[in-house]
Symmetry: C2
Subunit: 144 residues, 2 copies
């Protein structure tokens, strides 16, 4: 008779716990900016390049319109972004930063360092972890 799988031996649970712990550390840091973690991710993408369609944002972040539509509506209510129908393809909605949205980038500069401080891993470990997670995510997504 085989034993039931043990929770503490499961890498997936370690992944789930680590991800929750990370967003828990982000929470108070991002609260200063008035953002949640997924909202911060969307802003990161827009700070890199805008405008971006809802579809582009979804492809970048792995989120669908069911998640992004209400999230973007909240960012718009915060005055950080605007949404407008694309001229050349009326199916698309382009998301652009407002002045306040662009300006928020400055105050967000310190966020990654705050997280790095809390992580307690060496640069080597971080790099190794990043690489392994990348391989893992690719393999998992590939198996669907």
């Amino acid at each position: 008779m085989s034993d039931a799988p043990r929770l503490r031996h499961q890498v997936c649970f370690a992944l789930y716990s680590a991800s929750k712990a990370a967003t828990a550390v982000y929470r108070p840091v991002l609260e200063d900016l008035g953002l949640t973690y997924p909202q911060y991710l969307v802003m990161l993408v827009l700070w890199e390049q805008e405008p971006r369609s809802v579809r582009d944002l979804g492809a970048e972040l792995g989120l669908d319109s069911g998640t992004l539509s209400p999230l973007l509506k909240r960012l718009e209510a915060l005055g950080l972004v605007e949404r407008r129908r694309s001229a050349e393809d009326e199916r698309r909605v382009d998301v652009v930063l407002t002045g306040a949205g662009t300006a928020l980038s400055d105050r967000a500069q310190a966020v990654p360092q705050r997280l790095a401080d809390a992580a307690g891993l060496s640069a080597d470990e971080i790099e190794q972890l990043h690489a392994t997670l990348g391989k893992l995510t690719a393999a998992l997504n590939n198996s669907l």
Copy 2:
């Protein structure tokens, strides 16, 4: 002038993506059992030892009663667990497995292997990842 942090360089985003990818692989596998991933985690804990109070389950999984109460209600509706007020401390609710809940363990045996197949990492990489995630989670939770 410094650049905005890049999404693809952030370990936290890699963590977030990997965790979502893992639950996405779990989803169809667990659907055969009629469970979601968090429900599966609760069942794993109960298969190890029961009864467990709501508080114990929360401590084990890092979840609070706001998450567990409705989740346990759904497991009860599925006929997998029962909840009863503890005799020695009437504040507590003990969660116990039903016959069906215990029996489900057999059908769940294959789940971890299904995930391991999809992960595409060597045993060494898995072990390394598990260790690093453990360190990371501890450090993150410690910083709160």
